[in-house]
Every structure is written in structure tokens, then in C-alpha cells.
Subunit: 156 residues, 4 copies
């Protein structure tokens, strides 16, 4: 395998989860001078996508039906608290930790922090849905992979 030209781009696996760096750009801010509250929802999705990518689960493979019928991750619930704002040019880190994996649900704790200070924190419940939008059992291979990450933090 050739060397990755941008090794940091998908963040790094850490015990129990994943850390992704995110730069704050114009697009992420609003006229109040700080980051728009909806932008953190996007940052957290990037963290989840890169987490499962590094674990070896690609959106494209799921969508192509590699695990049976075509499946896509869907958000079931987000409970997010905002503590401090990020600003233009800031470098923040999105941390994604596995809280629990059940037959049909994946529960994550995600934070966005700057210099180690927590700016937002969310509990995010994820399901896998098919083309008709119906929730499906998480494939064993995917669940085992996520469960192994959870075990590493001692939460599962």
C-alpha cells in the first residue's frame, strides 16, 4: 500500500474511540461572530464518519450492499449542550467515544474541544437504515468492530 499523502486527514483512533481535528472556516461562523450552533452538528458527523472509516466501515461499502441490502447510517437522536463558542481560525478537536452498542443502536458521546476545553458535548444515537428508511439490525461484523472499541474504554 502506498504511503498516505495526508495521514492526519481522517483523525486518529484513541482508546474507546476517535479524535478528529477540525479547522473553523468562514462557512462555519455566523454574524454573531462565533461558530453557528448547527455547524457542530456537521463537525460531529465528520468525526463519526472518519471513526468508522478508520475502523474499516466505509459509507460506500454499506451503501453498495456489502453487508446485505444497501444500508446507511442515520441519526436517531442528538442531545447536545453548548458551553463555549468556537471562533474563526480556531483549531478544535472532535472526540467520539462509543458508549454502547446494542442489536440495532449505536450510542456515542461526542465532544468538541479547543485546547482541551470542552465547547459542546452530545449524546448521539445512531441506527442503520435501508433504502426505505427502516431500521435494520447492525451487521455482526460492524457491531463487533464497534464493540471492541467500546470495550477498550471499559464502558461496554
Amino acid at each position: 500500500m502506498p504511503p498516505q499523502p495526508w495521514p492526519d486527514l481522517a483523525g486518529r483512533l484513541v482508546p474507546g474511540g476517535h479524535v478528529l481535528p477540525v479547522r473553523i472556516y468562514f462557512e462555519d461562523t455566523d454574524f454573531s461572530g462565533v461558530v453557528y450552533h448547527g455547524s457542530y452538528i456537521r463537525f460531529m458527523e465528520r468525526g463519526r464518519s472518519d471513526f468508522v472509516r478508520l475502523l474499516g466501515v466505509a459509507h460506500t461499502a454499506l451503501d453498495a450492499g456489502d453487508h446485505g441490502e444497501p444500508l446507511v447510517f442515520a441519526v436517531h437522536r442528538i442531545d447536545i449542550g453548548y458551553f463555549k463558542p468556537a471562533r474563526i481560525d480556531d483549531l478544535v478537536e472532535v472526540t467520539t467515544l462509543v458508549k454502547a452498542v446494542t442489536g440495532a443502536r449505536l450510542i456515542l458521546i461526542q465532544t468538541v474541544a479547543r485546547d482541551g476545553e470542552r465547547l459542546t458535548e452530545a449524546e448521539v444515537t445512531i441506527v442503520l437504515v435501508n433504502r426505505e428508511g427502516r431500521a435494520r439490525r447492525i451487521p455482526d461484523s460492524v457491531r463487533d468492530t464497534l464493540h471492541a472499541a467500546a470495550v477498550a474504554t471499559g464502558v461496554a
Copy 2:
């Protein structure tokens, strides 16, 4: 006052709150074929903005310091559940109801529905912050206005 050329644009006040129609465009969807989960966060902010606009509280007036120092609404917490997806070309309605108004917080229940069917629902906690991001007491005039709306639904 001249007639409004686009009377529907800011939605309509209803008992206890406000209803805003929102059209689903390309920008709101993602490759899974339905509306991106973060888009509902934007729709709900539109509903809140037009609600307070129709009540007579403009972002520009708050930011200009009409209620003392410059203030801006900030989201403190969102707890959102996703039940069914909206799709391209759909016409959905964002309903915003006042659940409670305290000295420093405004708690809203917001739903996005299509043809009367609830697609997402959120409890949203709002605070007013100054330029330094510190929470400030909601001005009496703003609180009275919001409280009157809440009383109309019998929740406050």
C-alpha cells in the same frame, strides 16, 4: 404601512407559538436521498427567528443594543429526535411552541411535520448572551411577550 408583498414569508402566529412553512431544496438533502439530519437544525432556527420577528423582537434590534447592551440569542441545548425523513421538493411545517420562560432561559418545543405527520421533534433551550458570550437576563419586554404566547397554550 404598505401591504407586505410576501405575507406568508415569516409564517404565522398560532396559539402558543408559530408555524413556518419550509420547502426542501437540493442544499437540504444528502446522498442517502433524504434530508440531511443537520438541516432540521437550520429549519428550527428559521422558525425561532420568524417567531420572535412576528412578536416584534428583531435580531438587528437586539444586536444594536435596543434592550441595553448588544445581545444575541444563543442555543444552550437541543434534544432532537428523528422519526421520519423529509425529501426533495417536500413542503414541511416548522411549529414552535413556548414551553417555559424563566429569568434567563426560554424553552421551546419545535417540530417539523409534513402533511400533519411529525418527522422530527426537539426541545430547545435558548439564552441571550452579550458580546463576550455571557448569559444575560432576558429583558422584561421580551420575556413578557414570550410569556404571553406561552400562556395562550396553557403551558406556562
Copy 3:
């Protein structure tokens, strides 16, 4: 047909094209205090979508293959100039005029204006593509409809 509950929502057909009102929300602005330059690109897409919707051409129908194979409008080129900024709470109007319709291309002139003052203007070239992303001939029924609009302005 029942009365439309929100008659203004898709804007209005005008000679040669279409006008859509757009409200500026938090999501559209950036930390510089005005509307993010990329937001106008989204506003113009909304104008195009509602224009073709009022002409009777729905994205859903195109995508469902009602005109042969599944087709979707795709942007081929945008040449956009920015003259003055819009701000939070502003009400702007997106005007879409048909400049030319050829066998495979639709050329539009789109402006965003506030109180009649032009803020941005773009020439936008649209093509229809199939699922593989290949440009396809614009179906006669679609072209005739667009051409009729163009003739109304005397440009085609």
C-alpha cells in the same frame, strides 16, 4: 384543487422568468457580519427549483424517469459577481430570467436584490444529466416550457 395554504412559498412567475423572496437567517451569515458568499449560490438554486416547479417540472418527476431515464439538473458553470452584501433579517428577492435554451443547455441570468437594489448577479449554465453524470438532451416538453418563458422576455 384545494387552496394552497402558503401561496407565496414558491415565488411568482414574471415575464421571462420568476421571482422568489428569501429571508436571511443566522445560517446564511458569517463572522464578517454579512451574508456568506456561498449562501447566494444556495439562494439561486432555490430560485431555479421553484421556477421550474411553477412551470410544472418537478425534480421528483425528472428523477423518477418521467422524461425517459432518470435525470437531474446539474450546474455546468456559474459566473457570479458580488456588489453589495445582504445582512441578517433582510428580505431579498431572487430573480431568475431565461437567457437562452439550446438542445442541451439552459442559460439563466439570476440576481439577488434588496429593495430593488442588485446585490449579486450571475450567469448560470444548467445541463440535465443521467445517473452516470452524462449530459442529456433536454426533453422537448421541458425545453418548450422554458423557451416559452424566454420568448416572453424577448431574449430568445
Copy 4:
């Protein structure tokens, strides 16, 4: 200076400009299955921001008035062509090259490519504006820095 924990995050300076890697996430795509045309506008802004950051010109410093009055980069014109679409999970590269620097304008050529294949290309004209939105002369220190980059490609 401590080592950068994420050295790749702001991309790399190259002769005459800058290259930034960008991952395609859910947020960047639309229901047609590929990247939304407006997303490339955001990617290019990221490339410009990181380019000037690596050259030592920060948005925060400009906005703080380090070069006289508070200034912010503003887009004056974008002429963008779309050739091929990017898709979910793709890794693309945004290349930003300086075409010309005049007293008041900076003209850039920006491309988005995947595996060396050009997907979109734009000519982007940038100006510096003050708080009232009026174009200002580009500070000598900023212009010299940009000009040096341009000279490196032999275009200026």
C-alpha cells in the same frame, strides 16, 4: 514552538500557491448522489483561508486591525466550471494558485481534483473590505507576500 499535533491540517504551500486536502462528508452531498455544487464554493474558501494562513496572514489579525482598520477578505467574483462530480468518502485536493495581485485585487485560480483529475475550476477575484464593506488597498505586507508566491509560478 511545540510540534504541531496535526501538521497536515492547513495543507501545504507549493510553488505559486497551495494545496489543501478535503474529505467529502454527508454534509457536502445532495440527493442526486454526488457533491452539491455549492459545496465546492466552500472548499475553495477553505483553500484560500489556509493558503493565506500559511503565508502568515490570519483572518483574526486582519479583523483585529493589525493592518490598520479592521479588514476582511471578500469575494468580488467567481467564475466556476463544473466538469465531473465528487462523491461521498472521496478525498479531493483544492489547489490555489495566484494569478495576479494588483493594488486592490487578488486573482486566484482554484481547482478541485481527485487523483489528479480536475473536477471543477474557478477564477476567483478577492478584495479586502472594511467594516462598512468598502474595498480597501491591500496592505503592502500582504501584497508582497502574495506577490512572492505568484512570482514563484512565473505568472506575475
